[in-house]
Amino acid sequence: MIPITRKEREWFLDTIALGLVEYMGIAEPPVPVEELLNHPPELYQDDFGVVDMRSNLWDATFARPLTQRGNIFVRLDLEPNERRYALAREMLSALLTSRHGRAMGLADVFLPELRDSADYFARAILMPSNFVHNRNGSDQKPEAIADDFQVTPSMACERCEDLHRHLS
C-alpha cells in the first residue's frame, strides 16, 4: 500500500461515512448509528451487530468469532452519547474485516493508524460534514451542536476542529 497522508486518510473516512449515511436516507442529525448496526445494508448482514455486556474493562469492542457474525460488544451502563460514540468507533473495525471491506482493501489504508482512524470515523459518521455545514446559521456553542448531534460537547469541538483543519 502506498503511504498516505492524514488528510487523505480523513477524506476517505469522511466519504465512506457519508456513503453509509446517504444509504440510510438520513437527511438531518442525529444519525441513528445503532439502527444502522442493527439493520445494516445487505452487504454487511454478517458483519454488523450489537451485543450488550457487563464489563468494566472497555466501553465497546468489535469481535468476529470464527464462522460467526461480527458484533460490537458494548458496555451496558454507558451514557447514551458515549454509547453512540463507542458503537460508531467500532463500526470501522466491522467494515475493515467485512468481506466487502477486505475486497476494497480498506485494512491496508486504516490498520496502520487504526485507533486514530476509528476515532475520526466515529466523529465523521455522527457529525457528517454536510450536516455540520448546514447548521451554520444556528447556535454555534459546543453544547448546542452536541445537543443537535447527540454527542458529547468535547466530541462536537473535536469535529469542528477537524472540519476547520480541512479548510486550511
Binding site: F12, T15, I16, L18, G19, M104
Partner: protein, 96 residues
C-alpha cells in the same frame, strides 16, 4: 465538479459491491462513465493502476485534488495585472 464526482463514487463503493467488482475485473471505466467527471479526467482515472480499490481511490484523490488546485491557480489574477478589472483601473482614463 470532479471532486464531487469522486466523492460520490467512493461513497457509493462502501454500499454498492458493483463498484469494487468492476474495479477488480479491470472494468472501472464502466463505473467512471456513470459519474460526472470531465472527459479528460475520466480518461486519466481510467488509466490508473492500483492493487486495491482503496489504493485506487487514494490515487484518484491525488489526481483530482491536483487538477482542482491547478485550476484555482489559473483563475487567480496575475499580480502584474492587479486586482481590479481593466476598465476600472486608474491608468486607463486619466481625469483632467
Amino acid at each position: 465538479m470532479s471532486m464531487k464526482a469522486l466523492n460520490h463514487l467512493v461513497a457509493r463503493s462502501i454500499v454498492d459491491p458493483s463498484v469494487v467488482i468492476s474495479f477488480n475485473d479491470g472494468r472501472i471505466s464502466d463505473v467512471l462513465s456513470e459519474c460526472e467527471f470531465a472527459p479528460e479526467m475520466r480518461a486519466n482515472l481510467a488509466q490508473l493502476e492500483a492493487s486495491s480499490f482503496a489504493e485506487y481511490a487514494m490515487y484518484a484523490y491525488r489526481i483530482v485534488k491536483a487538477a482542482e488546485e491547478a485550476e484555482v491557480s489559473i483563475k487567480m489574477p496575475s499580480p502584474l495585472e492587479g486586482l481590479l478589472p481593466r476598465d476600472s483601473r486608474a491608468d486607463q482614463e486619466q481625469v483632467a
